[in-house]
């Protein structure tokens, strides 16, 4: 499973991207469950964010959803922070 996170906006307006391929990871099943939840709770179009809040695009195996600060679900927040930290 290939998970891509794009973060835009924020006070600095600086874009960040990170991708992780979970196929060979020992916790691939955890990643899959987390990603499925995060995507299920996402939106097809970018929600209207709050001033300076980050906007996120989560793409899992080619399917993209949107979400934005501060209204992230716990799974979205966890997935985003893990991908941005552990991905490349």
């Amino acid at each position: 499973m290939r998970i891509h996170v794009k973060r835009t906006g924020g006070f600095g307006g600086i874009e960040r991207n990170a991708t992780i391929d979970t196929s060979d990871l020992p916790d691939a099943e955890d990643w899959r469950a987390l990603a499925e939840h995060a995507v299920a709770e996402g939106r097809d179009t970018p929600p209207v964010g709050v001033p300076d809040g980050f906007c996120y695009q989560i793409t899992v195996d080619g399917h993209t959803v949107h979400c934005s600060d501060p209204r992230l679900t716990d799974d979205q927040r966890k997935l985003i922070s893990r991908v941005l930290k552990e991905g490349s």
């Binding site: 924020g10 006070f11 600095g12 307006g13 874009e15 964010g49 709050v50 300076d52 980050f54 501060p70």
Partner: protein, 355 residues
């Protein structure tokens, strides 16, 4: 509430006494004290002038409906994401051990002070709205935002950004999003979104200049100076003076802000590049303020403030709509002399038409 007394009280000294600015340097304390003395002298003159210009304001402060003092509450999210989090400091309480809390309290006070003293605006809504901020939001959160009701500040990501309560202009920027929401309510997308961003940078920088007692020529016109980690190649997040020059770094990339309409960035990211294209109206304000000279919050700031709060802007207004409104407001406030010529020239220099 003692209305008569509160209307003539030296609010600056009330809200930011030197012992509360415990994390600022001694030099900064002295500058703040100097600014307080100066504003006391200016206060009566400004008050008289506002009476003559208040007719153009759709949402004037109704004198006496709310006490002209800040009502700040700082909360601690304790690195979680529940808002507002645990209340850690209320208005009038002494500073505690947490420098971030103390900075947020002082920064909100400084911003309240500029809006009240210079523009006769009593808080975000013009009627004493409580100022609520949360610090220590989330983990490694390199951001700050206005959520529609309150300000939120992260501790920084440990790599690129430090604590977002370090620069007073960043805190003032967030509070100004609240002022905009209660006034022009500029839609946070495309050109109106970039204007929303720019207005926050303008008043953010003005709060810093006012606090330091700097004239337009003395100011650095930077947004977020002191916010970048020492390893980052850059001086700040944005430069109003020279958009596009604030940083150039391996990790961050290069500051993408344009300073002229020729370089306007069309993008779907960041709500249509609201943090990018804001460089254009930012530079127009800088050019106006430095051409006029003196304290930027006086004439240049007054024009921007009156346009923002005057009720004549469409929520989806363009750069050209906003520019034209500033030209009209300038003529109304100052006639067709130097100020009028300066505002026309400022917009012309950034390629925004005013006719």
């Amino acid at each position: 509430m003692d209305i008569t007394r509160s209307g003539h009280e030296p609010v600056f000294c009330t809200i930011v006494p030197p012992h509360l600015l415990d994390r600022l340097s001694q030099a900064e304390n002295q500058a703040v004290a100097g600014a307080a003395r100066r504003t006391l002298v200016q206060d009566e003159a400004n008050r008289a002038r506002r009476l003559t210009t208040a007719a153009g304001t759709t949402r004037p402060t109704i004198a006496g409906t709310a006490e002209e003092k800040p009502n700040r509450t700082i909360h601690d999210a304790e690195n979680g994401t529940e808002l507002p989090g645990t209340k850690v400091r209320s208005e009038g309480e002494e500073p505690g051990q947490d420098a971030t809390v103390n900075r947020a309290y002082a920064g909100l006070g400084a911003t309240f002070e500029l809006f009240l003293k210079s523009f006769k605006r009593n808080s975000i809504d013009g009627n004493g709205l409580p100022l609520i901020a949360t610090v220590h939001y989330d983990q490694n959160y390199g951001n700050a935002f206005w959520d529609g009701n309150q300000m939120v500040f992260g501790d920084g990501d440990g790599e690129v950004f430090l604590d977002f309560t370090i620069p007073v202009d960043v805190m003032a920027h967030e509070l100004t999003h609240g002022v905009t929401q209660y006034t022009a309510n500029l839609t946070y997308s495309g050109q109106s979104g970039a204007l929303n961003e720019s207005v926050s940078d303008v008043f953010g920088s003005l709060v810093k200049q006012y606090t330091l007692g700097q004239t337009a020529d003395q100011a650095d016109w930077l947004i977020g100076a002191g916010l970048l980690h020492e390893n980052v190649q850059g001086v700040a997040l944005r430069s109003m003076k020279e958009p596009g020059t604030a940083y150039d770094d391996d990790v961050l990339g290069k500051d993408p802000q344009p300073g002229h309409m020729d370089d306007y960035v069309d993008t779907e990211q960041d709500n249509g590049g609201v943090h990018i294209n804001s460089g254009i109206p930012n530079r127009a304000f800088y050019l106006l303020a430095t051409r006029l000279g003196g304290n930027a919050w006086e004439r240049a700031g007054q024009i921007w403030y009156d346009v923002l709060t005057g009720g004549d802007l469409a929520t989806d207004c363009t750069f050209a709509d906003f520019a034209k409104a500033t030209v009209d407001k300038t003529a109304e406030l100052y006639g067709e002399g130097d100020e009028h010529e300066a505002v026309l020239k400022a917009w012309s220099q950034v390629g925004v038409p005013t006719a």
